[in-house]
Symmetry: C2
């Protein structure tokens, strides 16, 4: 049986992965990944063979990893954050059906929903919804329905892919949907370049978020009706009964 490990490396560099992730990469011969993520960790694994593919070529990258594993090498495919959140682990299982001799394992990592929350304070202490604003593979109507449902039920909300060059106004449109049910004073936060050079955070109101541009390296957090600002941090209480 050949082995393919799908490894989430967390938000930034080497220190942000788990010890298990580092051990797994050390135990594999070949590490496959998107060029940018490989560059974040390459120096720590000098004896490994690295195979990289450019952005958006997810199917080709997964096939490359599966073919290399099927040829008898222990392979790790790395993903930024966690491979299971808008990541590649699903595609590995789906395409892996064509390679019955390859056994697929996943090693979880710290996704931006957790690392972004950590630098903003404690926005996700209670129930939350994670929604991607990318309509590349999902109709906008589905995204809007989820934003609306999450706001109506007073979830904290974390937005992945808040904008891109082709979708400059999506964050503003998302805020408009949320504003149907949430106060313009709702506490929000933006976490940018988490764990990397240029890391920064901003805490602001939902009304302010509506007119703010967040770039593609940002993760956006929208509090629930109980979220507050404590010493500049975004903090959601643990429960609501005893307030």
């Amino acid at each position: 049986m050949s082995e393919l490990y799908v490894v989430g490396i967390g938000p930034g560099g080497y220190a942000d992965m788990t010890l298990r992730a580092a051990q797994t990469l050390n135990a594999c011969e070949v590490i496959v990944g998107y060029t940018v993520y490989v560059d974040l960790i390459k120096a720590h694994f000098p004896e490994k063979t690295f195979l990289t593919t450019p952005m958006r070529q997810e199917v080709e990258r997964v096939r490359l990893a599966l073919e290399t594993a099927a040829a008898g090498k222990a392979v790790a495919m790395i993903s930024s954050g966690d491979a299971g959140v808008y990541g590649m682990s699903g595609l590995c299982f789906e395409l892996g059906k064509d390679y019955p001799e390859v056994s697929i394992h996943t090693v979880p990592g710290v996704s931006a929903v957790l690392s972004g929350a950590a630098i903003l304070g404690a926005p996700l202490i209670h129930d939350f919804a994670v929604i991607s604003l990318s309509d590349l593979l999902t109709p906008w109507e589905t995204i809007e329905a989820r934003l609306c449902a999450a706001a109506q039920a007073d979830f904290c909300i974390c937005l992945y892919n808040p904008s891109s060059r082709k979708r400059r106004d999506y964050l503003s449109r998302a805020c408009d949907v949320i504003l149907r049910h949430a106060s313009p004073e709702t506490v929000c936060g933006i976490a940018q370049n988490i764990g990397r050079d240029g890391e920064q955070t901003r805490v602001l109101t939902l009304a302010e978020l509506r007119t703010t541009e967040a770039d593609m390296f940002s993760t956006v957090f929208i509090g629930n009706s109980h979220t507050k600002v404590v010493d500049g941090k975004m903090v959601t209480p643990r429960g609501y009964k005893h307030e």
Copy 2:
């Protein structure tokens, strides 16, 4: 300025924490935590002072950590999973207002939503909602409204605290709410004792989940309408446009 680090150690033992978490614990003099979590990692930090408090005494534990930091020691407070998901980091910021001389930092960890997903396959590849079934601090009406909204908008759902001795039927009641909008054939999964002795997973339908008991060491996953079983794994596709 004194320092308090709130550190998520991930689901299981030493290997499940990030390198940054291990470095942080090594750099602190005192490690504070709930007895069970301290026992999971204690052997790896033989020279540290450990302070433990029993379950449910969260406010006392946070005050102990803040007092110790205020007295001039570098303190880490550890949390299972991630301290920012139903965890203690929010309480640290809230009570930290009384200790202006203590600077609070958070180190994220792999929460059960990510580690449970990893052992079940890839259930959270698309938008998801995380909901706790504990009504200790939240009215059941709020929990029910969130379950209903998440199911109606076809989110994947991850349930924390699916049951306890006093709430044996809560998982069944939650399934009844979700079944108002989701098919009884919806793919579900249970991850038990993640990263610890006795780790196991089960993939089943929503109808089966309704009559299954999940203990307090379980995390429950309910797929969206596109989630499928691939070689025994629970897999949600990345998008819906090109199916």
